[in-house]
């Protein structure tokens, strides 16, 4: 399949790098300031080296990537809130051209799901977004297999940074600021970690899951969110003494619950994953509970979900 990859951050880069291994051709690659387009296949390594040298993948207009020859658009630009721009307009442009769209960008799916579905309904292109929820973990493919109407609830640890901080504070009795600084040194937390530790990232994933389970109607503002920044370290100690752990848990149900917050879970429970691992539990009508865990972030890990979606396109 011919792919146009928008965004050359960790996920966009990894997707472009792995595309050939999956049998696909990258015919366009763009970042916010430039693009490279070639219907016979972009030289991905050269374009990414060009970006390392100059700050952009190429000299073409980024808008040219959207009108290039491709079968599927991979939208991997940074997640934005509210109107989810410019990601939303990228998706619209591709669907209006009857191309498929695979999103790694959470913004449009979390914030403008109903608009996306309307565009997809009018397009011959298909819309998929496995990579927007829990990186490499096949959450949405599993919901699709079971049937969203037979998934009663989804619960999970959906942010690796917050989980790293909580599990490290808990295991070693260290303070929040100390562990956060360590996480930043390790590259697990960003310089501005608020998106992760205030629960916004997990809440975006909950909005997406709520949309999938309830056939739309949710945005970030519809998710109750409590982060971990103000969570008292002393509460972790009390929990540990009682055989419990604290995790930032996102929960979505088919009857309208959508919330993120620190929760007590038994220390030996499936939800008590450590470090940057994510886990998602699906409560189903006929198959009991399914647990799916693995890498919830990372370039190649998330690109694996993107390329799995590409493989599912008709």
């Amino acid at each position: 399949m011919r792919l146009a990859v928008l965004g050359a951050g960790a996920v966009g880069r990894a997707t472009a790098n792995l595309a050939a291994e999956y049998g696909h051709t990258v015919t366009a690659l763009a970042d916010s300031s430039g693009a490279v387009v070639d219907p016979d296949g972009v030289n991905v390594a050269a374009a990414l080296a060009h970006k390392d040298d100059t700050g952009t993948v190429g000299d073409a207009d980024p808008a040219d990537a959207l009108t290039a020859e491709y079968d599927a658009l991979v939208e991997a630009t940074p997640t934005t809130l509210g109107d989810a721009q410019p990601g939303f307009d990228h998706v619209r442009a591709a669907l209006e051209l009857d191309r498929h769209v695979v999103l790694a960008n959470k913004g449009p799916v979390a914030e403008r799901y109903d608009d996306l579905r309307e565009l997809a309904a009018r397009s011959a292109g298909e819309l998929r977004f496995e990579a927007t929820v829990a990186g490499a973990i096949p959450v949405l493919a599993t919901v699709e297999g079971v049937g969203a109407e037979r998934v009663n609830a989804v619960r999970g640890v959906l942010n690796g940074t917050a989980n790293f901080v909580l599990s490290r504070m808990s295991a070693d009795g260290l303070g929040y600021e100390h562990v956060l600084a360590e996480a930043q040194d390790l590259g697990v937390a960003e310089a501005d970690p608020s998106f992760d530790v205030d629960g916004t990232d997990a809440a975006l994933k909950c909005a997406i899951l709520a949309n999938v389970l309830n056939d739309g109607g949710y945005a970030l503002a519809d998710v109750d969110v409590e982060g971990i920044a103000d969570f008292p370290g002393s509460a972790l100690e009390v929990a540990a003494e009682d055989g419990q752990a604290v995790r930032l848990v996102g929960e979505v149900t088919a009857d309208g619950v959508a919330r993120v917050g620190p929760r007590l879970v038994p220390a030996n429970d499936a939800l008590a994953v450590s470090g940057t691992e994510n886990i998602v539990q699906l409560d189903t009508s006929h198959a009991g509970r399914l647990n799916l865990s693995g890498a919830g972030a990372g370039g190649p890990e998330t690109a694996t979900a993107v390329l799995a979606d590409v493989g599912r396109l008709d």
Copy 2:
């Protein structure tokens, strides 16, 4: 989709019962001694009540189900070894009629994979078999998404009966015979439990996984198997003192390992599932390790995997 369901054991019954909820019509339902066929849709409840009363679902010839009007055959007759008959011939008949086939019966996929693939290659029908490995857990769909060539190893607890026995022996210091009798009382173990406790069932699943990872070439005889019947209870105690648990683990790799046997795993490891739960770990090239756990057996649970496969047919 119109389904012909062969086999009216737990999985066949549940598949037939749930088909309408999934939007499908059962046009034929057969057990080993009779069948009921109706192109407008079989009365499933009546047929299963008939079986409860008389021992068979209906008065038609079971062979009539294979030539009925249907889009997909669900092969859910009992697993047989060696030539995997009569399941194999059922699959052949459907594929030769260019119908799709979804298997819950492990025999043909474990024992005659290469023959099946040859039949499928000559058919317009598609062949799927998610339900043959670990019940409700979406193992094969996940391998398909990642790409079998990017799955380096699969490891798992693949038999709920053996796991129930081992975890109960371990947790409560009870002897093998005692726990096995309890499992039989609970319906977790069959009257003849050898298929489960000698590792044959887990080994069949390993043969299937080895076929998927290595593009064929495996049968039950190619899997190294050691069961739990002779496993000394004293070893469980020694392991527990050391923070370890013993689990019957199946392992398959892309470079030819295929084996089942009791293994020491850390007591807090993902593999140390309790009771009848199953877990499967996939080691991938680019996405690290994925863990999938849930119900590895049961009628509605396994039927969920069958019907997910039906939903994936083109």
